[in-house]
Symmetry: C5
Subunit: 301 residues, 5 copies
């Protein structure tokens, strides 16, 4: 997530440099063309780029909306993960009899595993190694061994939760209603995991990207032809500025629609997992509570 | 689902070739008409196509939004199917006593049937044979026999689930709260099935399609009349490009609004069913886990 | 629901004939006026209708969106009715001990009554006689007698469901958790009924309809004045075409926002009820399963 | 709620008369100004009002959408109240043993109180006296006495529900699962009450209203300056018509966004409460069922 | 929340003074430039700012919509907190046997703590000291001591709720179903807390803010160039007015998208907490019910 500090100008420019360069090139080319073949070029009336400008603006607005929705949905999913992680531990604390040794150990194991689950889901969504070394403190060697065999690590950790919950019922540490209530929380976590996987795995309709690009270029070419006639050499900076803005909007939309790509514009899953870790550890009265994740220069992961 | 590789140009062009041809024809015709009867044609002011352009852009934006929503809803429904399929198996693993023979067999039968259910729902939405041969490994001969009598195969498979769940309660392999909790999961699966059927069965308001087509042609004719006057023969490529873009948007929208038509733009139901199969088999510690479905040239089914 | 076959041209034209006639009349009138009093008419600049055109397009887009939402919500409500009707019968099959005579009879009575409920809700939403003769096969004489006293027939049928569910608990054919689970399904059916009644009973803000009509006419008058000056007698067909499109959009929106009016654009409640009947009868292994409802010429009810 | 009958023209005009008058005045003023100081006024190009027209139309469209959403949400909340009121009584009928005297009395008391709750919530949202005299038939003297001490009358009635539900459990007239199920229904009613209070209590962002007004006037002034030049005295009616339309849209939006103000555009809470009364009384086999609320001249409250 | 009284003009102006000043400066600069170098400036055609005006209007409309959605979501979250706080106390009153001393004390402690929770959540969202002195009346010294160790105070208060609920079950003051039902209410409160934290913690995509600002300036510069040519010195006030409107819209949107910043445009969390306090105290028959929070000059916190 980009944060509200000054974003380096180079970061923004970097995103669109190739497109802007291309626009610069053809507006210069058109200008020269005009200079030499002025009689053969059509007198493009200004209403033509105006019509195209309205259309392209509407399609960009559509894209902005849909990509924002994806980004916001991704953030909501991770918000739900925060809520359900905390609720899970609160429920365990509220249901399990902590004076008996074995149930208390199960409770703690589940709580620490929940921390590991959040980190590993975040990493696996970004295509990284799901279980980083620092998470091994939150997992027992058997768990690490168990999940090694699975391709979907977070699902394997949920499977461990399910197993421990079964043990809690067998030990009569939770009653049947409490088991079902805890199972509902696990089901919601499983749902959030699936929703995040859906957002990561679903390609935004490719055809739109192509059409939008094609349309922007069509608009710029027509605009360039119309401008050459009226404002001469000033056309070059004007066209470049307008093109930069349109491409920046398009690129920003494209970055937001894929919020799990290990880029600065990502949903800050590691920072969220850290928040969950802090909250859970304080609920458990753990002395070793980490600090919130610090931001990088202009973003937080 | 189209994937993010290079889509063959021919694929895109193929979608709109008849419409573009028609536009090409009448813009040539208008050009000739203009050439010979220049005095009898009205001097169409350029603001007229501008007004129509704004209107048609807004209506196309409306169509884009609604068809995107249908497409995204279809994807969400299949995301929910992923979640509930995994939850169903996790719940069975968490509730059923696997040390007793009969309940364990029921558990496994339900899990494999859930895999078959996902595939068969996908195929039946696409109007294919619901139970393909390779699914017969996941079903017992009695099940295959039972569902043969039903016109709605996925519903018949759900009926089998319900029957087995009843048996689990009778065997006291699940307690009454667990049965109700599992029943809730089945109800959600039944809901997702119904939602997918609704999207497939509901025709997008036909009148809009007609109005949009009529409107685009009206716009192009008026634009053609206005352009002839100002830019002469250049009108033909300009009009063709603009028409191609508008028709591409309209066609793309139309393809997205029907995501279960056995076409490259479909929701990738087979690939999703495969993911479910992989996850469920790993939960069951099945040794024979298949690979994720590979993409076709530029799409995945 | 209009289906994807060729819709007779007359059907579409019929919707807007009076409005189009009115436009035809005043554009002819303005043309004549112009002819005789050319010096007294103001030289309306073309940007004026352009401004109005943008505004009216945006307001029409708003109306399109809202009426589409109502139409889609109505379809979703009936989708939920499909799901909950099937779930109800699946749950009854999964919970009730079918080896005991009386509970099995209650189960069947509830299942057939659910079929009747769907048909009667559809008819009563459309303002028809709620219980058609063919439904009497699905209801017992006592039920028919009971609901006669009620003004809201579908609610009376739900009341019968509630009564039978109470009997099932008393006979110990369902356990208390199962009763509550079935009661939740009935509550959802009651909700869907209420939602459909809300859509039918809530008039789309009347003021908007008036403003939209007033605005379209204002736009057309101003456009007519501007066109007369520039394109002469060609104004008449141009204006008529544009007017037809705008009025078609407005009328289509108006028809979609009221999806229970016994018209071809209705939500196809009878066809949906038939689907439910087919599914439920196959679950019950009833030999007498009807065919899906056939479409009329270009629509399905 | 305005109904689909002819709305008196005066009703619509009344809403915007001051704004239209103001516009009439300054367009006359500008016309005279122009007449005398023609050389000192700037030749406003027509594209300037066109740009402002597009902006103001988009902002009005935003306002239309948001106010429609508030209005529709208010209607949905009252739809949920209909559903949950009926469900509550259906559940009580399905759960409580009516052959025992005291539980049957409690059931009837709760059902009639639910009728009173609906009326009193509607009145209190509108800022009227919450308990009208005719509701005293549905409440016992003790209840009336109890709620007198509360500032939030509908909440006090819910409190009575909670108290009676506790008594039903103590009398063993409902089992613990049924109590929890009924409690869920009461929780939903409490939620709907809160949602309606939220819509009533949340002022639509005031700044927008000011900006929209300022923007419309800016647009009209600029348009007036541009028109004076081109169409002379015709400017006055044209401007007045356009202004009327814009202000009508803005006013209509403003009325819809506050649907509990005791005005004709309100959500028809009294009519809805009457519907609930009819349904509940028929479920209870009460002989004294009232008629649906009749509409006023052009609206229903 | 700004309320519907006259907002001081200075408040609105204050928001945009720097931007407007900047626009004033460069429009004067351009005017002088034009005056002296009239031959070297390009004759900017008016359609160029028109195209940019449409685009910027659409992007502003997008921003208006998204920021309104955030603001409305924040308000909904706090509406849910009202509902669940009242439901929690109603449920406790309906479930707990108040004739036994210890459970009654627990009930009252939970109810008063719920009041404190609402205030402390509001303050901590705004970045203030979460537990103000006046809240210490609603909390016991042990509670205050307990939450001191936590960085997330509202979560610590929820932890106390969970602890007391456990005690209620141990004392058999609630049955297991009631405990689970109460736990669901606590889970919803935990969810609302997480949603509010999400809205506060998620920065609206920064890139959009930069693009919007850049785009507005690009539009104003181009418009200025076009205006200078046509309306001369009148350009300065016209440009300033238009700029003020655009910047006001942008600023208002920016303020709404962050509704927990301790500013007049905030969601009125303190006023809402007060409402909850009044309702809960009346349910508890507490004699010392406070008055609703009074509004400041033109807003309520």
């Amino acid at each position: 997530m980009l944060i509200d500090k000054t974003i380096p100008f180079s970061y923004m420019l970097n995103k669109v440099k190739y497109d802007v360069l291309r626009v610069l090139l053809f507006s210069v080319a058109f200008h020269l063309l005009k200079h030499f073949f002025t009689d053969y070029l059509p007198p493009v009336p200004f209403q033509l780029p105006a019509i195209l400008g309205t259309s392209i603006s509407l399609i960009l607005a559509f894209k902005l909306n849909q990509s924002y929705d994806r980004w916001w949905e991704a953030r909501k999913v991770w918000g739900a993960i925060v809520n359900d992680s905390r609720s899970l531990v609160l429920q365990l604390k509220g249901f399990v009899d902590e004076e008996r040794t074995e149930p208390r150990q199960l409770l703690h194991r589940m709580a620490y595993r929940q921390i590991a689950w959040c980190y590993s889901l975040g990493e696996s969504l970004r295509g990284n190694e799901p279980i980083k070394e620092e998470q091994e403190a939150n997992l027992s060697p058997e768990e690490i061994n168990y999940i090694r065999k699975h391709s979907n690590k977070p699902l394997a950790l949920l499977m461990c939760h399910v197993h421990d919950l079964k043990a809690l019922l067998r030990l009569e540490a939770v009653n049947p209603y409490q088991q079902v209530q805890l199972d509902s929380t696990l089901t919601r976590l499983c749902e959030s995991m699936g929703k995040a996987e859906r957002i990561r795995g679903t390609v935004f309709p490719v055809t739109y990207k192509l059409i939008v690009h094609f349309f922007i270029y069509l608009f710029l070419v027509v605009l360039s032809l119309a401008l050459v006639e009226t404002i001469g050499v000033y056309e070059i900076p004007v066209l470049t500025f307008i093109a930069t803005t349109f491409f920046l909007i398009e690129k920003t939309a494209r970055h937001m629609q894929d919020p799990f790509r290990n880029k600065p514009t990502d949903t800050p899953v590691t920072a969220i997992a850290r928040t969950i870790e802090i909250n859970i550890k304080q609920i458990l009265h753990d002395a070793d509570v980490p600090k919130p994740l610090a931001a990088e220069k202009y973003y937080i992961m």
